[in-house]
């Protein structure tokens, strides 16, 4: 069983929801990333999503684009990111780590070489934002062969056929993009998310994490009521941006920010669908 599956199954058995924070590796500086990863675990993270910086992150909003620019300013490469995970693994062998990024930096190093290096470093899953299911046959089998989970995005615009095709290629969990837009966008309509999640669950038993538009404890709790996991990204990255020049404060700030969301999520631990 993969580390992701083990963690998500254990949470489900206890009626709890996964909290999945995202930060961009190398932001504000590559030296801080491993410390921030440990801080996020201390704050209650169940799975970590670590962004691989890319010069042209077209599915991300301005917050994460700026994070990428800060990381790239210090030359953070894909290999650096994998090495950060190896460093993290020296002190944490249980928390799954998912790398999230774009295809070009991975292909520049070679897909197979990347998958082997990432697996050896202790990476558990990979989400390549610009690889939709149509292009996956050339990519996902390689990642799977190395024992990496392939995480895919689902969107409000995904048709039933696409949901089925994506569920077929995916493992670990599915990442449902809660709104039409880029990361860090506004307003989250929990009602329409719930309806779409029912549609997805009709086709797959994979856990579903919901991201985009979750900025505080209240929105995290609202999503926790209906999803298996809550992804928090831009809200944390904004904090990093704000305090980029006092990076020594960041571990505690992020831990505290995440802990609030953890508490809010755990308050709604027993969802209606289990109670009914």
């Amino acid at each position: 069983m993969t580390r992701i599956k083990a963690v998500l199954q254990a949470l489900k058995a206890n009626g709890r929801k996964a909290l999945i924070p995202y930060i961009t590796a190398g932001d504000p500086h590559p030296d801080h990333t491993v410390g921030l990863m440990h801080a996020l675990v201390k704050g209650g993270a169940d799975v970590l999503e670590l962004g691989v910086p890319f010069s042209d992150p077209m599915a991300d909003g301005p917050t994460i684009q700026l994070a990428c620019e800060r990381a790239l300013l210090h030359g953070t490469s894909l290999w650096n990111v994998v090495e950060m995970v190896a460093e993290f693994r020296k002190r944490d062998t249980t928390t799954p780590v998912v790398l999230m990024g774009y295809l070009n930096p991975i292909e520049a190093r070679g897909l197979d070489a990347f998958a082997a290096y990432a697996k050896a470093a202790g990476v558990d899953g990979v989400l390549i934002v610009d690889v939709a299911v149509e292009e996956a046959p050339e990519i996902a089998p390689c990642l799977r062969a190395h024992g990496l989970d392939c995480i895919f995005l689902l969107a409000p615009t995904s048709s039933a056929e696409r949901i089925a095709a994506i569920a077929h290629e995916a493992s670990g969990y599915l990442y449902y993009v809660s709104l039409k837009g880029v990361t860090g966008a506004a307003t989250l309509d929990v009602g329409s998310v719930a309806a779409k999640l029912d549609e997805i669950r009709a086709q797959t038993d994979l856990p579903i994490a919901v991201g985009f538009g979750i900025r505080d404890a209240a929105s995290a709790a609202a999503v926790a009521r209906i999803a298996d996991g809550v992804v928090v990204g831009s809200a944390l990255v904004s904090q990093i941006e704000k305090h980029q020049n006092e990076a020594q404060k960041l571990p505690e700030l992020l831990r505290a920010q995440l802990a609030e969301m953890r508490a809010a999520i755990d308050d709604v631990a027993v969802p209606e669908r289990l109670a009914s």
Partner: protein
């Protein structure tokens, strides 16, 4: 010829093209493809498009015999395809008229576009004004600076011009920003991509709307000269004017084709915008194609005197045509393009844009290697009025 039927059903030109975008964009791209596939064979749609091209754009554009350049260069007879005479002054309008008609048929009320030199932005703003659609144009902040006349034109036409401050503040960043807008406002918004790049179906539909250029050359050449050209030359940034000229000729192997990239300060300096000449295959802006990137896969900053060619990628069909050897891709430097700009202006009384000045600069090298009865067609894809400030500044002349 098999490559005339490309792209395949998944939008691939050989190993290139495709649809490398986040899941959120897959449905709108599919809807666009479906709508286009349905409308492109619809007689009423074709008639509406043809009417717009004739009466609004002013097509066909002349195939002009450049007799004095021919004499000066010595060798092939040089003909200029006068896309600069189109409404708005460039080939870009061929595509925007077509895509705007699609937008209208899809019931969209808002148009967005990215622009480099500003020609595509002006063409989009123009057609939006005519159809009464809202228009937002994304433009790299650096390009806003170097193309101020076009920025003002867009504003006069009622468009909002949004300077993009992220990344390298040029065309690629404008494209990122436009994609973000589209994914957020997909219900009412149509994204008019200005070049043959981007995710499928854009490389196909932008090509198809520009292919009117090559089709006209086939007819005009036959009528005027009784035969087809021996060689075609066009500049390549994203590559829409080039593919528009080349595509109808692809199956005719007797016609040689040359795509001219922006060599900037020279390929050897690394300061250029020539992915086909000096890049490698990668994935950018939703398609697999030749790109300029560093060893870590980060997209490189590009350099060209011409904002319209200053782009690190290129349409996927060009990548395919390069690999199969059907088109020769070459480059000329800023200085060579500038010299050709002046020569065409002085010798023919035609002020070309800096983009096709690259094509002219290569034609100047090519023509003397060809016989005097050979026919060489250069796509004069746009007029140079927008560039006079850039040129004056580079040459140390103050216009204010």
């Amino acid at each position: 010829m098999i490559y005339e039927n490309l792209p395949d059903a998944r939008g691939h030109f050989g190993p290139y093209g495709g649809r490398f975008v986040a899941e959120t964009l897959m449905l709108p791209l599919q809807q666009l493809e479906d709508a286009y596939n349905q409308l492109k064979n619809d007689a009423a749609f074709r008639a509406e498009l043809d009417r717009d091209l004739a009466l609004y754009v002013g097509r066909p554009s002349p195939l002009y015999p450049a007799e004095r350049l021919t004499k000066k260069w010595g060798g092939a007879q040089v003909f200029l395809k006068r896309e600069d005479l189109n409404h708005t002054g460039a080939h870009k309008i061929n595509n925007t008229v077509g895509q705007a008609l699609l937008a209208k048929h899809l019931g969209k009320t808002r148009i967005i576009a990215e622009t480099g030199a500003g020609q595509h932005g002006v063409a989009s703003a123009t057609i939006a004004a005519r159809l009464g659609l809202k228009c937002v144009v994304y433009m790299g902040a650096d390009d806003v600076q170097r193309q101020s006349p076009n920025v003002y034109r867009m504003k006069l036409l009622g468009a909002d011009v949004v300077p993009v401050q992220s990344g390298t503040r040029t065309l690629k960043d404008a494209l990122n920003e436009a994609l973000r807008d589209w994914v957020t406002n997909v219900d009412d918004t149509f994204y008019i991509i200005g070049t043959v790049a981007g995710p499928h179906p854009y490389p196909m539909l932008v090509r198809d709307f520009n292919a009117v250029v090559g089709r006209e050359v086939i007819t005009q050449s036959q009528d005027m000269l009784g035969r087809q050209p021996d060689a075609l030359v066009a500049c390549v940034g994203g590559g829409s004017n080039a593919i528009g000229l080349f595509h109808p000729f692809i199956g005719n192997e007797t016609v040689k084709m040359y795509g001219v990239e922006a060599g900037g300060d020279g390929i050897e300096t690394g300061r250029h915008a020539a992915p086909l000449s000096a890049g490698a295959p990668g994935v950018l802006h939703g398609n697999r194609t030749y790109i300029m990137a560093d060893a870590n896969g980060q997209i490189s900053a590009t350099h060209s005197i011409s904002a319209g060619l200053d782009y690190p990628g290129v349409g996927p069909e060009h990548s395919w045509l390069k690999d199969i050897g059907r088109v020769n891709y070459v480059s000329v430097t800023d200085d060579e393009a500038l010299a050709a700009f002046h020569e065409c202006t002085r010798v023919e009384g035609i002020i070309p844009a800096l983009e096709p000045s690259h094509a002219l600069a290569y034609a100047k090298k090519l023509a003397p290697t060809m016989s005097r009865d050979a026919i060489l067609v250069v796509n004069l894809s746009g007029r140079g009025d927008k560039d006079i400030f850039t040129i004056a500044k580079r040459e140390g002349i103050s216009l204010t």
